[in-house]
């Protein structure tokens, strides 16, 4: 049989071809894309539904039963697709859509910052070795010895207090950057450890030796010779890091050290639902299920990316 001429394929191309054949990867990518779209399009829904995520709707609440939504399943109706919030009557669908925005942007910023620090530290630590490596690996060891949730929980009000004493207004404008810093502070050592290990095995390879022998600078060696060979493990780490960050962000907010009202966030919605979980379980279920689907999709996608980039691995 005469086929098409054989074409050379780059490793990236091969990985991409493998991902395209993976049904799980496709479904989870679509799910992630859908949630991103929902987050991006949230202002459009404000326009369609003629209300905002912060607007109170007392008319949807039942005055005789305390302050619970009128109707079944937390007040789901044509106007309020996911029902309304008990006590305030704010639209749950809009809060969900805007909450996806907050959760995703914090988690992605923290992942980006952690990756940046982790890759830089890993490169420097692995390439230079000796004292630099010793100091950096010890630093990572110390950070990993911290009880991260507890410490993050404790340090947030302290940092906030400090910013306040500098004249920065409190509230989400300071809370969100503090969260991003705290989350990435505990996230980078994991990335740095992986990058460092890779760099150590690459640094003695012939191509690096060749570049060194013709007089390439250390910056050139690190960024032009070694770094380009690391994109696969970095990509896998990033993919598997995003769901962890989403989870940690929601957990911190749930524990009260994160985003505060009126800004919407999935962890904050879950926290707000606690007093009402037995009378209005739908209000707990919606953000919790959204979080589950988002984290699951990212986990599956991360697994697929890893499998595609590492042909030896199999599930």
């Amino acid at each position: 049989m005469i086929g098409a001429p054989i074409q050379g394929r780059s490793p990236a191309r091969m990985a991409w071809d493998r991902i395209k054949k993976d049904r799980t990867a496709k479904i989870s990518a679509i799910t992630v894309a859908f949630i991103f779209l929902l987050a991006l399009a949230s202002p459009i829904f404000t326009w369609i539904l003629h209300t905002t995520p912060d607007q109170f709707h007392p008319e949807t609440l039942d005055p005789s039963f305390g302050t619970n939504p009128v109707g079944k399943l937390g007040g789901i109706s044509a106007q309020h697709w996911f029902g309304v919030e008990p006590r305030t009557g704010r639209d749950v669908f809009l809060r969900f859509a805007y909450g996806a925005r907050t959760s995703l942007s914090i988690a992605l910023s923290a992942t980006a910052l952690a990756t940046l620090i982790g890759v830089l530290v890993g490169l420097v630590s692995g390439f230079f070795g000796k004292t630099v490596d010793l100091v950096l690996t010890r630093t990572m060891e110390i950070i990993l010895a911290f009880p991260s949730i507890l410490f993050a929980l404790a340090v947030t009000p302290v940092l906030e207090n400090l910013l306040e004493s500098w004249g920065v207004p409190t509230g989400n404008a300071t809370r969100i950057p503090v969260m991003i810093v705290v989350l990435s502070m505990f996230g980078w050592p994991y990335i740095a450890r992986i990058v460092r290990g890779q760099v150590i095995s690459l640094r003695e390879k012939e191509f690096v030796e060749a570049a060194r022998s013709i007089g390439a600078s250390r910056t050139h060696l690190v960024f032009k010779e070694i770094l380009p060979n690391l994109w696969a493990p970095i990509l896998v780490t990033v993919a598997l890091n995003i769901p962890t960050m989403i989870t940690s962000e929601a957990a911190l907010t749930f524990l009260g050290a994160g985003v505060i009202d009126p800004t919407s966030d999935w962890g904050a919605m879950l926290l707000a639902s606690v007093p009402f979980y037995s009378v209005d379980p739908m209000y707990t279920f919606i953000p919790g299920f959204g979080l589950f689907i988002l984290v699951l999709a990212f986990n599956l996608l991360g697994d697929s990316v890893r499998d595609a980039l590492d042909p030896r691995s199999s599930r």
Binding site: L162, S165, Y277, G288
Partner: protein, 330 residues
């Protein structure tokens, strides 16, 4: 072995020392007025003044930290030579002015609840995780394998607080099979203790067993292809002996590591679990202290948790060398 153990203990102590110095300086330098913070929400100027002296904030930080460390070994007396003197015997981890109790006593009061959660849940998640992982590995590719691994993947993506609230809604509010979670002494009211602990145990075990199931399965499948397993089979050992004595033992090493670290971090406070189920453990103590800005307690809980994490790391490394003959101690 002894030399290695001693070295690990020394380096672990050093790490703990550095962690404590960092925690101490952050919590005592950063806020504009630690005395005002330590004083709590209902506070008078005189009280601030008194706490300022009591916390020895007029002293340089190094002196404060030195006294804190000294207090751990020999104890200390706050506000000595006044009628409001508070003795804090060794090991003294600080004094909470909001509750008027030594931090160590607060920690010890809350430890049993956290211990109950951690021990019960870890037994349950090991049982579920290991058995489902072993079955999956032995029945690789069958529907049992696919179902249990699918479950594991889903469970690993769930959140404790979400599952906790849903289970509480079903089993406490709707079916009324269980009482509200809480803590009673297992020695005085063993039945109440067990009933109140069921939900925290099940919730934690449900989420954590997923990781163990996946680890057991992949570890066993990997080992099954190794030469020594083929040798064992060739010697004529029954497949049960091979699977249990050779394959499972080799696959256990990474599981011991993960288990040690999980247990270590849980013992420092099952923060989210205790928060959701309102159980008075170390994690709850920490969240309460944070919201009241009771800094000595915050410092104490963070350090106590770091102590468990570091100890778990050392224990895991030592166990590793016992379990895996390939590991050489250096």
């Amino acid at each position: 072995m002894l030399k290695y153990t001693l070295r690990r203990i020394v380096s672990g102590t050093l790490v703990l020392g550095i962690v404590s110095a960092i925690v101490f300086s952050i919590f005592y330098i950063l806020p504009a007025d630690p005395a005002r913070l330590a004083c709590g929400k209902s506070c008078t100027p005189e009280l601030v003044q008194r706490i300022q002296v009591a916390l020895e904030l007029d002293q340089p930080l190094a002196v404060q930290y030195g006294r804190f460390i000294k207090g751990i070994f020999v104890g200390r007396t706050y506000l000595a030579n006044t009628d409001a003197a508070r003795t804090c015997s060794a090991p003294c981890l600080g004094y909470s002015y909001q509750t008027d109790l030594p931090v160590r006593q607060l920690l010890m009061d809350r430890l049993p609840a956290t211990l109950s959660i951690a021990v019960g849940a870890s037994i349950l998640w090991l049982l579920i995780g290991l058995s489902s992982g072993i079955i999956s590995a032995l029945r690789r590719g069958t529907w049992i394998d696919r179902t249990s691994q699918g479950f594991a993947l889903a469970a690993a993506s769930l959140q404790i607080y979400f599952v906790g609230l849903i289970l509480q809604f079903i089993f406490v509010d709707k079916l009324a099979w269980l009482p509200m979670p809480g803590y009673s002494s297992p020695f005085e009211y063993p039945l109440d203790w067990a009933k109140q602990m069921v939900l925290p145990w099940v919730t934690l075990a449900f989420l954590l067993s997923a990781i163990y199931s996946r680890l057991t399965r992949s570890g066993m499948i990997e080992t099954m292809g190794e030469d020594f397993v083929r040798t064992a089979r060739a010697k004529g050992l029954s497949s049960r002996d091979v699977n249990i004595k050779h394959v499972l033992r080799a696959a256990m090493t990474p599981i011991v590591t993960v288990f040690g670290l999980d247990l270590g971090s849980l013992l420092g406070g099952a923060v989210i679990t205790e928060y959701v189920f309102n159980i008075p453990g170390l994690g709850k103590l920490a969240t309460e202290a944070v919201s009241n800005l009771d800094l000595p307690v915050v410092t104490g809980t963070v350090l106590f948790a770091a102590f468990f994490i570091i100890t778990a790391n050392i224990v895991v490394d030592l166990l590793y060398s016992v379990l895996d003959p390939k590991v050489r101690l250096t």
